[in-house]
Symmetry: C2
Subunit: 489 residues, 2 copies
């Protein structure tokens, strides 16, 4: 047990004893879904975050398995008082379908044959992985997700979640991912598959209980590993150092440090990963394409979740541009999406490493910090030539105490409050014009909640109109500000 963290976590398994129909049309007779849960669900189950893992990741997000030396893969941001604070949120992560960490995959026993599926396992998709996770959440009686978060292949699942189950996903956080695998990404995977299938020990997938095609898997992993690191990160990590300085440099098998490192990574990987799973999961990633009729805007249109998409400056596997395209497509559908970039020299792997920037971006997105996070919208409004009576009707119908007044070009020309109505009655004013407050206090949606609070206090008012370029966007009230101190997905 590590001294650093005594936090022990365990894996649970959910057994679905029903046929599971895949996107391909093929059917798995049963499903096992293994998962881990960190933190506790609150009474109304409104504090749940789903984390989707990447290609070679697993459900073991954080903490330590009993006796383990290494913590889970996202321990830097998941845990008590960390970015994904397990004292506040309940975090769920399940092993993907097709994998080899407890959820049904090619190494599982096919109940119909009593033997491993091996290469008879059906091709699966990212959508199938998501649908299996959905079954798990139903079993856990979770109907609303505060947020779905994922990086790399995890980001693909998260994106698919928000398209497939828009009503369940309040917020979506995507890291270093794409909405559609590109030929270069496919090519790297294809070569990994060729290396595995070209290993004579692969034996058409029938190697269970025999020697495994570890040489092929190791080559596949080495290829993957290069794509996860930036050129610069490798330079910094290895330079041109040789493994053993006493060795003869002019030998074919004399290794530079970078070679020994890749060999080590390749061998380590063979100890924990099933070669057939590598074939199936990379294929699922290659098949991933959320465009619809060739159009990403159309494909992502079902998404309603507020979205934060994060690119990594030095990522050349899923370059920032591909992350930006997701944001552009969402915005074209009117979905609230923002792009942020992690400045890092680590390459793709930065989403596992850049703790500080991850914390800043994810915390800021999950906890409302800006006026746009708490403003009420749509907001009722009235026109300059409306009557006082009309204003009162709108107020009552919408239980709104503050009504922005718009001029003929739709711009904010004033505000009328229930208190103004009272004034009109008191002084027997007959027209709206006599009671409108022309000096409207506005705030930008990009301002902080602190700024909104200060401005209300300064002018001794209980609400601010949220506007940009004199256009009405919403309203923010003192109730909203004080309420924002609570967790609020």
């Amino acid at each position: 047990m590590s001294v650093r963290s005594p936090w022990i976590t365990k894996t649970a398994i959910h057994h679905v004893d029903e046929p599971f129909k895949l996107e391909s049309g093929r059917v798995l007779p049963e499903l096992h879904i293994s998962y881990e849960i960190y933190g506790r669900m609150n009474k109304n189950r409104t504090n749940i975050i789903l984390v989707c893992h990447a290609l070679t990741g697993d459900a073991h997000l954080a903490g330590y398995y009993d006796g383990a030396r290494k913590p889970g893969w996202w321990d830097v941001i998941v845990g008590p008082n960390k970015t994904l604070d397990t004292q506040q949120y309940c975090i769920i992560c399940s092993n993907v379908l097709g994998g080899c960490a407890g959820t049904t995959g090619p190494a599982s026993i096919n109940p119909e044959s009593g033997r491993e599926y091996a290469a008879t396992f059906p091709v699966i998709t990212i959508g199938d992985m998501v649908r299996a996770q959905h079954l798990l959440l139903r079993h856990l009686q979770v109907s609303q997700l505060c947020a779905v978060i994922g990086g790399s292949m995890g980001g693909m699942q998260a994106l698919d979640w928000a398209v497939r189950y828009p009503d369940m996903v309040s917020k979506l956080i995507l890291l270093a991912t794409t909405a559609r695998s590109t030929p270069q990404q496919i090519a790297f995977h294809a070569i990994g598959r060729r290396a595995i299938q070209g290993d004579s020990r692969w034996n058409k997938g029938e190697y269970y209980g025999k020697e495994r095609p570890d040489r092929g898997l190791s080559v596949a992993r080495m290829i993957g590993h290069i794509t996860y690191l930036s050129d610069h990160a490798m330079e910094e990590k290895f330079g041109r150092e040789v493994k053993n300085k006493e060795q003869e440099p002019y030998a074919l098998n004399a290794d530079f440090q970078v070679e020994s490192y890749l060999d080590y990574q390749g061998n380590q990987f063979c100890e924990r990963f099933d070669p057939n799973s590598y074939l199936y999961i990379t294929k699922a990633v290659d098949l991933f394409d959320l465009t619809k009729n060739g159009c990403l805007v159309e494909g992502l249109a079902p998404i309603t979740a507020r979205t934060l998409a994060v690119g990594i400056s030095s990522d050349w596997l899923y370059p920032p541009q591909q992350v930006r395209e997701i944001v552009k497509a969402l915005r074209m559908s009117g979905t609230d999406a923002e792009y942020a970039e992690i400045t890092s020299r680590y390459g793709h792997d930065a989403f596992l490493l850049e703790m500080g920037q991850l914390d800043y971006l994810i915390s800021g997105f999950l906890s409302p910090k800006l006026v746009s996070d708490i403003m009420l919208q749509p907001v009722s409004s009235i026109k300059e030539d409306d009557t006082i009576e009309k204003a009162c009707q709108v107020m009552v119908e919408n239980t709104a105490s503050h009504l922005p007044v718009l001029n003929k070009s739709g711009k904010i020309s004033g505000i009328v409050t229930s208190w103004d109505i009272a004034k009109a009655v008191a002084y027997n004013f007959k027209t709206l014009d006599e009671i409108i407050t022309r000096n409207v206090r506005t705030i930008s949606p990009d301002d902080t909640i602190q700024e909104a609070a200060l401005r209300m206090k300064k002018h001794d008012i209980s609400a601010l109109v949220v506007s940009r370029d004199e256009k009405l966007l919403g309203i923010v009230t003192s109730e909203g500000v004080s309420g924002s101190m609570r967790v609020n997905c």
Copy 2:
């Protein structure tokens, strides 16, 4: 024979019947060097260009082998009236040491054992390749190279040429290359080697006459191929098209176009390349490092050749930055080096494809177009307080008819010509000051030769001082300008 080009080329072989000592200290008992020559050597052998080929290239630069359908690999710029005009230049390209196209390599018979070298072949370096080429040139009685040109691994050889034999290389053209293999570049090669050596048919290199480790070689080639293309080029070429639109998309072996393409490339490559050569040549590239004591400026200091180094905007294997570093290092040693960039979306392979930009850059560099190309230097000068007698001595000693006059801070303050001397004599002037022309006509080394000709004509003078920031750099004469119309490396 192709209809497109009836230009038939042939390979010759030079046999060196002497031991060849390698950088490792090991010795090859004999050498065969195969090569091709395009165009004719002129009388003084001053029109010779050496082209160095890349990793999987060969000596067959251009034209067609009898009966072949495809021309040589650089046919776009090598040939009659092309960029490297074979009517003007004599172009030599030899197959690299360690390769499998006629020059001694692991598939050659070791005269000492009577069998293929296979894995007993010694590790070779880029420097060894260059030294073998040097033996060939000596055999061909070539002592001066108008230019050495190479892209990728060819660029490494070219750079090594200019360091190793500075007196032989007048101009150096480097394309998409580096002065030092980086860990990322090494890693890609290392994985290719693992794939070959991990193929059970590799049999520790002893596969000649048996089944070859083509699966491994094919994987290695596929990895290489991805690194030669940009993400964008792959997107444009393949998109997410599948190979056979009628095929079941949810099959593990259902291929995207990009996969079939890579398979095809992998298989094609196996027909023409020896797996052991791939091991040795990639190792030579990995060992390439021209820094000296960790310093590139020091490593490249011997170079005297005027250098053009060309990066490719979308090349991520040998990114522009690495090409720029060569230029920076050369300039720090005072070597005349310039950087240019090919704007291309093809990635690394652009140096084989971007005919127009290659032509513009290479032609412009080989044919003198600028004042700096034809200016005379070092140029003799005198000081303001020198005597007329002293000026005459300097003129006579240096057969110079124009002498720039420098003030105490070394800046040009005037010019004295032989005609001024005549004037002094005629009018009995006693001091230099009385005959100096203060209004010196100067020109920048970056100006064109046309500009120099125009300026001389305008002022009716026969020479211009070449200067930058009032510092004397050289002198350009009307003879130089008219002579620049000739081929002049």
